[in-house]
Subunit: 186 residues, 2 copies
């Protein structure tokens, strides 16, 4: 999700994505990635548990930013606005890396095992956001609905952004939330 | 998702869930399930690819009902209403089987590999619903947003229903959609 960390970790992540795009995920070995990054396989495994995890390196950081933005929101802000603003903060981590995000999305879309992991990470974001809302005193069903709605807006906005339909991710988030409000306004 | 099919298939599904509840998913073998159902392992594999799939036996049927309800909706109905009504139709397959659904949910929640598969099936429902809306002429982003919103309402309503917070699943769906409208009405 995030962009490159500095040093060997960042070079490994960059090399992995390049190779997944060039050869496909299944056809790439950890040895290939290490070689391209100019490090040993041992170094790879010091940083990542397996070749799937390389693609999810930024997801914990993104979740931390999301949760801390929810916790720090102005008291009394409506839950959907709290989550929407928190996703804008998290989106700043991705902003400027659209081509990287687009390549990553294509690799994931081509591999069911990666889709499963992506869905689990996104579900983790939603759970963490719902828990952070509940800590602010939002009741359980409203917290879950607001968190899920924020996740929906993020996923749809993200798809539009990587498809080039919008100037930046933040703009896509705002457009998508406005559309959702229009769709659900009965 | 659905309830028992008749005959050996239904007995296998019932036996599998009983054993997963009693012993845990990991501790149950296909041999155990076949024995409890009074059939051979070969019969198990004639019906199910593996011991995970037993828990998802009804999901294709649920998706078919959902998609056909979307396709058959009155022309001009707003997309979110189309999806909400279609989920009510799909919910009829589960209605009356709350204890079964609750047990199944607990087994899935306890096993990450099952959670992944559940998320993939739910994502499949959303994609199928979005495609069916697009066939009705709903534009791509609105179709995806409406389908995702329907999925959100279904998941939250389902959790309330299995937790016993509401008389039936249909009532939980209606309450949850009304809450979502309240939350997103800016």
């Amino acid at each position: 999700m995030g962009r490159w960390a500095p040093g060997a970790r960042g070079r490994l992540a960059e090399a992995a994505l390049e190779l997944y795009v060039e050869r496909g995920f299944e056809q790439t070995t950890v040895g290939d990635i290490a070689e391209r990054a100019g490090v040993t396989e041992r170094t790879f495994f010091r940083h990542f548990a397996d070749k799937r995890e390389v693609l999810f390196d930024g997801s914990q950081h993104l979740q931390d930013v999301l949760v801390s933005a929810i916790s720090g929101a102005e008291p009394g802000t409506p839950p959907v606005d709290v989550v929407a603003t928190a996703y804008e903060r998290a989106a700043e981590l991705l902003e400027g890396g659209r081509e990287h995000s687009a390549q990553r999305s294509r690799v994931i879309a081509a591999t069911p095992g990666l889709q499963e992991r992506e869905l689990l990470k996104l579900a983790g974001l939603t759970s963490a956001a719902a828990a952070a809302l509940q800590e602010r005193g939002v009741a359980a069903p409203a917290a879950l609905l607001a968190a899920e709605t924020g996740g929906t807006v993020f996923r749809v906005a993200f798809d539009r952004w990587v498809a080039g339909q919008g100037e930046d991710l933040r703009g896509c988030l705002r457009t998508t939330l406005a559309e959702l409000r229009g769709l659900t306004g009965s």
